[in-house]
Amino acid sequence: MSDFSRREFLKFGAALPLALHSLNARAASTPGVKAPPKRVIFICNSLGFYEPNFFPTKRGDLTSSKYLKEMAVREKMTVFQNLFHPGMETSNHDSEKSFLTGAPSPEATNFTNTISLDQILAREMGGDTRFPYLSFSIYDRGWGCSWNDRGVAIPPMHDERQIFERLFGEENLSAKRQQIENDQQIVKSLYRDMEQIKKKGGDASKIESYRTVILELEAQLKHEEFWLKTKKPEVPNTLSDDQEFAFSTKVRNLFELSKLALQTDSTRVITLSLDWIYGAINVPGATGGWHTLSHHAGKADALNKLSRIEVDIVKHLDRFLAELDQIDEGEGSLLDHTTVVIGSNFGDSSNHTCNNLPTIVAGGGYRHQAHTVLEKPTPLCNLYLELLHKHNVDLGSFGSSKKDLGLLKG
């Protein structure tokens, strides 16, 4: 569209017919069709939450948490207290790399990460959707929560408009088909290329490392080819371009895209990393360097500003959960079929400690407990292992897990 964006059309123009049911809502209403699929989303708030404001002060009562008391879906969430990742004693900000992997000592020079939880789940749950998984971050930094089975970072997408385009933008199908076909032929010639290099005594480890990657690319092309048959879902562009609170807008938009992706069943596995350790950001009620403020050392002014930023994050989370819960699907809501995990690699980022990680599990159809306090420090990976089991992945252990503690009921 030429003169103004599609969004403005929708804002000012006549309402377009928006048949925006989840695909599975329709499916479920037909007898004999299987129940809505399960989805997961993991959100890492890398600078954590100020503990006294986050955790309920009265055990079991979410209304005693300054941040969570006004959450719309309190009855569909559980706050876990006393979870941690072992081996993070001197990890500092590097601990973020291990948020979804649990790999110890990420600060070490010879550290290699391990596969992240979402990637294991994507293998199980990702095959049936256009995007086996999606990974988002605030800005172009090349790594987020998701790590592949070789411990290599999966670069997250960060540009909201490009993400929207990828998910919902109209495509020239014949050009895309041609493109995929071309790339498949190129991949074939590159296999022959590798044979030649090998024959000439080229570095075997190099070829092997390349082969692994190109095999994955080939599988990806095949997947894309399959999905050419299905039209992308049509959704209105509801992204905000407000620049007054640019950071807040970005967080909102990433949650919005996550919602749209889940709602349209474009993917079933999402990670979202929320991170900003650079200059000052602007949120309603405060301007300041998030990272500087996170080192509040207990000072009232810093804590006040920091809590404004954290409240803003919680506000977006709240909205996200509430909206998922308003989308009917099968017997319940989209939220009931989506396990939302929000947490952090830091328990107390002011002191760079990684104990008592703030962790919420919401939705997913569990019988939520509001607030579960573990008696002694417990590996977060126990909960991760349990999530794998809940999604039919039969693994004996994950990261530092000892056992599935049965923390999530139902």
């Binding site: 001197t90 600060e107 390349y210 760079h352």
Partner: protein
């Protein structure tokens, strides 16, 4: 010590005497016992270091001990010092003792190297690194060997390779070059006359900083790039003011926004410095994308908002030409298909285009129910909402119905109308409600298609979307209600146009390579592979690249398009993406390494011919390094290295507070890193000594930077070498505003962060992360305790102090510079403002305490930045050594091992000229090139 056996053997080879070797090892341990165990034995373990225990272990990381001993940090100055020979024995032993680290012997191309290399191979000039994900992670350098290729990265190389090949050899030919001449600013509010107003034949722009402090851009109407490409933007402009300084015209591109809206982020394309009062033509070249508009922002420190401004920049007109190609036929063809007959019909020039409405683009026309003289229908079709169409009111008032009819003779698909009220009058006649009708003959209108309301207070364009796209011949916009201040039925419209997504098909000129011969195709691919891989491949090895292209050619495909497939396979091959490639001889490997490090690219003809002659040694290598550093492609290395070494990639992620630093602006921000790059490039090219990294009496400045630094007499925004006045605290890297800014969060300065920056990047003290559960300290400027007192809490805790005594003091010296990099004698304390923040040049702060910039490093006390520079300059070898290590890591993708460090240290101490930067760079390259031969 199981290692001893091995050490003895290797040392035997070195010194040739088994007896000596054995005592050698013993001697090292003896020296350590004598000089170090006082503090670092089982009992004392000062600074958590127990050497006694370490030495009992099979292997240990001796890097920290090595560095401290080498650079003279240990033993501390007040303790007994080892003899040179004793020190040497320990260093040698530690170097030998270091276990071979099993790094991969190859690394992948970084995204920047990929894009530069492909540009050089294809003769294109595309900035596409942003389309490939950031690939450095948390490593210090892109080149780090730990970084592995991922599927997502390879996928983006596939698609970026396509994009670059398509730009070089477009399947549909090269779009015709067109010209546009425009002089009108797109929709704007009457109140923005304080920012720009009609003036002579064009527009006078004055300072355009908005109320919220962001720089407004005003967009030119009538030009939008039809295709992505390079365009030449020529402004006929003059300074309208009587002060000495130049005025700056910032030229931006980005998504159009109405000045009422929150500004959308814009890209700065270039800065035009205007000092001449006569109109002159000034040109910048820029790569533009469809959907972007060109906007301007006028900057000068002398004029702030004034009603009907008298001073500013007068722009008579903007002339745009493009998309440009570098030559005809484009050099991509000449470079890749060299030697083959290239058929390039002369490239056609497009007509000069002025402003065109969408209606004009689809060949439509407009008629109205009536008009007032001077307010004709053309006035709502001229791209401006400051001029307007008005129904007749004199001598008689036209009777309703009032309407506008569009004719669409070619049946273009029309999606709706775009409407804007007119700005600047009393509001009489503004349309409040309308109906829309369609017709095939302009007579029978049938039922109305839609009704709607319009917002009369809204100055932006208001889209009117038809329920369904229409191709009918006539569209009537009937006004059913309008503002009437005098009780008469009248109507007026600022802008009304159709909305259509139809674009005129782009005309293009096709180029063909007149060949269908498989032999020619092989030749092209062979030569391209030779340059891309810096080696000569056998026919068998080339076969995978040939095969696809040959098939296409056989199928009757176009020669160029068939070749492209082979080129893409080359660009995505492990030979290209994972360095080093497979080289026929070590000289080619060296050529490839040199080109990658110094140009982020592939070797040029000369490097390849030196490699082919196998002459990459001694003097020929040195002279190649000198040549490559003088070549302008080395600016890529300077940029890449300095951005990473000095952390400048984070520069734009920090925005200084406009309450504290109200004079900070985009223009200054743009030039900050340019100063640093120009300065470093100068140091390297002119082979100046490493002490210039710490201090010097010159730098590179322009008018904007000079003002920031308080340097007088620099007029115009061209960067030039400037000598600092005597007594200036500037000079060297640490006091550059780029560095001073990036080490803060844009509000307060933290001596800890800045101290850590100097420690790591300039002095080279290895830092360990703080231990867990030690409360972090983030000092505040507003507190009762002085900043120094707060930070000196580190002293009260031994664990903290062990490290912080060699971090914080550096930061103290930089306290004389605020978060924008400006000099300060006293702190500023932010003040609250009433209700919404409204930008004002004097900011919102009061003056606080006096800055105390004193500190002590070991035994050396300093009072301020001058003193700190003196302390650091007292050991130039150490500064040079750190620079060498950083450049090594940049070049090689791993830190030098201890043996290499010892070599570098010795080299730097050997002769005075060895601490000169070009010598250091060359020496590092010689070591790393030897390394890649392994």
């Amino acid at each position: 010590m199981k290692q001893i056996g091995l050490i003895v053997v290797s040392i035997t080879c070195l010194v040739g005497s088994a007896v000596l070797a054995a005592s050698f090892d013993e001697k090292a341990v003896e020296v350590l016992e004598h000089y170090c165990f006082d503090c670092h034995d089982d009992a004392s373990q000062k600074g958590n270091l127990n050497m006694e225990k370490l030495l009992r272990e099979d292997s240990f990381d001796g890097a920290l001990m090595f560095e401290n001993l080498l650079t003279g940090k240990m033993p501390p100055a007040k303790k007994e010092q080892p003899e040179a020979e004793e020190k040497r024995a320990v260093l040698d032993w530690l170097a030998k003792q270091q276990r071979d680290h099993h790094q991969k012997s190859f690394r992948r191309l970084s995204r920047h190297e990929f894009v530069h290399s492909v540009n050089d191979l294809l003769g294109t000039n595309l900035d596409l690194a942003g389309k490939i994900p950031e690939d450095r992670g948390t490593n210090d350098f892109d080149s780090n060997r730990k970084i592995q290729l991922s599927r997502e990265m390879l996928g983006s190389y596939f698609s970026v390779a396509d994009e670059m090949l398509d730009q070089a050899f477009p399947e549909d030919g090269f779009p015709v070059e067109k010209s546009w001449v425009v002089n009108r600013v797109r929709d704007s509010h009457e109140m923005y006359r304080s920012f720009h107003r009609p003036y002579q034949d064009g527009t006078l722009f004055s300072w355009t900083r908005s109320n919220n402090g962001i720089s407004y851009s005003f967009f030119y109407d009538g030009f939008e790039p039809p295709v992505a490409g390079w365009y030449e933007l020529t402004f006929d402009a003059a300074k309208v003011a009587d002060f000495e300084d130049d005025m700056s015209l910032q030229v931006h591109a980005g998504r159009y926004y109405y000045a009422d809206d929150r500004p959308q982020p814009q890209r700065l394309l270039g800065v035009i410095s205007l000092g001449n009062r006569e109109v002159e033509s000034r040109t910048i070249r820029a790569y533009l994308h469809p959907g972007e508009s060109v906007s301007v922002h006028c900057y000068s420190r002398h004029n702030f908002r004034e009603r009907n401004p008298k001073r500013g920049i007068y722009i008579k007109q903007l002339k745009v030409r493009g998309p440009l190609v570098d030559s005809w036929p484009p050099s991509s063809y000449q470079q890749v298909f060299d030697g083959l007959p290239i058929e390039a019909p002369s490239r056609e020039d497009g007509e000069v285009l002025g402003f065109q409405t969408k209606l004009q683009e689809i060949g439509g026309s407009v008629s109205v129910s009536s008009f007032q003289t001077g307010m004709e229908k053309e006035k709502m079709q001229d791209g401006s909402n400051l001029t307007f169409w008005h129904t007749r009111f004199s001598p008689t008032v036209a009777k309703p119905p009032h309407y506008v009819i569009f004719e669409n003779p070619n049946g273009a698909g029309i999606e709706g109308l775009s409407f804007a009220t007119w700005q600047g009058g009393n509001g009489n006649g503004l349309v409040k409600a309308f109906e829309v009708y369609f017709s095939d003959d302009g007579k029978n209108w049938g039922e109305k298609v839609m009704v709607g309301d319009l917002d009369v207070s809204f100055a932006n364009v208001q889209p009117i979307v038809f329920p369904k796209k229409t191709t009918r011949r006539f569209i009537k916009f009937l006004i059913t209600d309008a503002v009437s201040l005098d009780g008469k039925s009248i109507a007026s419209i600022g802008k009304l146009d159709v909305v259509t997504s139809l674009r005129a098909p782009a005309e293009s000129s096709a180029i063909e390579v007149a060949s269908r011969s498989p032999k020619d195709l092989k030749g092209v691919i062979r030569r391209f592979a030779g340059r891309a891989f810096s080696s000569t491949l056998s026919e068998e090895e080339l076969e995978p690249y040939y095969q696809l292209g040959l098939l296409r050619l056989d199928d009757g495909g176009d020669f160029v398009q068939a070749t492209k497939v082979g080129l893409k396979a080359i660009l995505c091959s492990p030979r290209f993406l994972m360095a080093p490639g497979e080289h026929a001889n070590p000289s080619f490997a060296r050529a490839a390494d040199l080109a990658r490090v110094l140009w982020l690219s592939v070797p040029d003809e000369e490097l390849l011919s030196v490699a082919a002659a196998g002459e990459f040694h001694g003097e020929s290598l040195r002279s190649q390094v000198v040549r490559m550093l003088d070549d302008q492609r080395s600016a890529r290395m300077i940029r890449s290295f300095s951005d990473q070494w000095l952390n400048l990639r984070g520069l734009n992620k920090v925005t200084p507070s406009l309450k504290l630093y109200p004079l900070y602006d985009d223009l200054l921000n743009h030039f900050l890193p340019i100063e640093t790059r120009r300065y470093l490039q100068h140091l390297v090219q002119e082979d100046l000594p490493a002490r210039n990294l710490i201090d010097s009496d010159f730098t590179f400045l322009n008018q904007r930077l000079a003002r920031h630094y308080g340097v007088e007499g620099v007029v115009g925004q061209k960067m030039r070498k400037v000598t600092f006045p005597a007594g200036s605290p500037r000079g060297g890297l640490m006091t550059m505003a780029s560095v001073l800014k990036v080490t803060t969060d844009g509000f307060d300065t933290s001596p800890i962060l800045r101290g850590a920056w100097i420690s790591k990047n300039i002095v080279g003290t290895p830092l360990s992360p703080p231990p867990e559960s030690v409360p972090a300290l983030e000092p505040e400027h507003g507190e009762a305790k002085t900043l120094k007192e707060q930070i000196d809490q580190h002293k009260s805790n031994k664990t903290c102090y062990a490290c912080h005594k060699s971090i914080d003091p550096y930061g103290f010296a930089l306290e004389s510079f605020d978060a924008s990099g400006e000099w300060r004698a006293r702190y500023k304390i932010k003040q609250a403002h009433r209700s919404t923040f409204t930008y004002r040049p004097q900011g919102f702060f009061k003056i606080g305490a006096v800055v105390d910039a004193s500190g002590e490093i070991g035994e050396d006390r300093f009072e301020n930045i001058f003193g700190l520079k003196k302390v650091l300059l007292s050991n130039q070898q150490k500064i040079a050594y750190n620079f060498a290590k950083k450049f090594f890591e940049y070049a090689r993708g791993e830190k030098p091992n201890l043996e290499q460090r010892l070599h570098l240290w010795d080299f730097l101490g050997k002769a005075e000229e060895n601490v000169r930067l070009k010598n250091i760079v060359t020496e590092v390259l010689i070591i790393t090139l030897n390394e890649s031969k392994r």
